[in-house]
């Protein structure tokens, strides 16, 4: 017993160090599960508030480009207005459409923090549980897909941006083939990789890559990026496609969080069929 006490006294520093390191590693490894608490990240009250305060100032320096992207989006949406199109001139064909159920709800959110040069990049939004933002919701910038909500607190949410090793988005090329868009730290903040497109698919530079609509995160047809370079490995059956993201992550100021009202139903059904 005495020896044991002496042992502990002699090696107290090392054992203490070991204990603390184990605690840190537990935090680190637990992080790899998708859902997690919103305590030790930038959605907690102190860091969220600080980032928001900082953004209040920094925001002014990007007003011009933010405004431009919002105007472009407005123009695109105006072009889809019903009043832009000729309708049949008689009232006899009019259908009062009550059969359409709403599937997606778009919630605007302010970006208060955003990183682009880490191996895993996150966006912090000033919207949280109190505003109906929950983990696993899609996030879109005015010009394209931006990321997936990972954790939320009362008023803040942390979003895994496309620039994150763990993000993978189901996407489709013009010719109809579906693959997934991923990112690796070898690339910069403007480019990603589209993988799993078979060699037989015809793909050319400049083709649009859009969301497939297979996942519950995004409606189909939202731009993810544009084919930038195709470098094929002869031993592989799949294209290696580098894409340029539609979203400019370097000056992200406003995003939309996409709430899928029927997502739970789809996921529940799929999980019963494929355990």
């Amino acid at each position: 017993m005495r020896n044991l006490i002496i042992f502990f006294r002699n090696y107290f520093n090392f054992l203490f160090f070991l204990l603390i390191e184990i605690v840190c590693f537990t935090i680190f490894l637990r992080d790899n599960s998708f859902q997690r608490s919103a305590f030790l990240n930038s959605s907690n009250a102190v860091t969220g508030k600080l980032y928001q305060k900082y953004n209040d100032i920094q925001y002014y320096f990007q007003l011009k480009s933010t405004n431009d992207s919002l105007v472009q989006e407005n123009a695109r949406l105006r072009n889809r207005l019903l009043s832009d199109y000729d309708r049949p001139d008689t009232g006899s064909l009019q259908v009062t459409d009550t059969g359409l159920g709403r599937k997606f709800v778009w919630l605007p959110a302010k970006v208060v923090n955003n990183s682009v040069n880490n191996a895993n990049n996150y966006i912090t939004l000033h919207r949280g549980r109190n505003q109906q933002v929950f983990p696993n919701m899609g996030v879109m910038s005015p010009s394209g897909v931006a990321g997936i909500v990972r954790s939320v607190s009362g008023n803040y949410a942390v979003v895994m941006s496309l620039l994150n090793k763990q993000t993978s988005i189901s996407a489709r090329v013009d010719s109809g083939y579906t693959g997934s868009v991923v990112w690796s730290p070898l690339l910069d903040g403007a480019h990603g990789i589209l993988k799993d497109i078979p060699r037989s698919a015809r793909v050319k530079t400049g083709d649009a890559v859009v969301t497939s609509g297979f996942s519950t995160l995004f409606p189909g047809g939202i731009p993810v990026g544009y084919v930038d370079r195709i470098t094929d490995d002869p031993s592989s059956n799949f294209h290696t496609i580098r894409i340029r993201f539609a979203t400019n992550f370097y000056n992200l100021q406003y995003v939309y969080v996409i709430r899928n009202l029927k997502g739970d139903e789809k996921n529940k059904l799929e999980s019963t069929e494929a355990p």
């Binding site: 603390i20 840190c24 040069n117 730290p185």
Partner: protein
Amino acid sequence: MSELLKNIFRFILLILLQVFVLNRILIHQIVNPYIYMVFILVLPFRIQRPLLILCGLALGLTMDAFMNTMGMHAIACVLIAYLRPFIINILAPQGGFEMVQKAPSFRTMGVAQFSVYTLILVSIHHVVYFTLEVFGFAGFFYLLLKILLSVMVSTGLILLYEMLFVSRRRG
């Protein structure tokens, strides 16, 4: 100003400097300088080792909270906090440094010793941090290059910080 107050002030200053200045400057995708560990490097010589480790933990977790890196900074900071006394012992001349109420700096350790001390601890921190950051990722040379360049920039910035803020002050 008391030593405790000075260190608390330095802690907050370094975190803000790192989060709102250095993390915002995009030098290149491959160069991410970190200088917030200066806090650990310049704690007094006389600090008890468990307390030093706890300081490392607090610093690391605060950084993790800002950068969404769950535990990575904490692991690296606790490690350098634990190794700090060994490095100081190796670099100390016969009879040790002037230990009473002093902290490592250019004046107490000498320019060469302090630079080597900074370089070693910054390297350890960066190796651990960047290895964890690109965990399970195959680009070994990419990792090596990233560590090498980041260590160079970080060490340079830390020595500059020392020259600007600390060594000027006499007394």
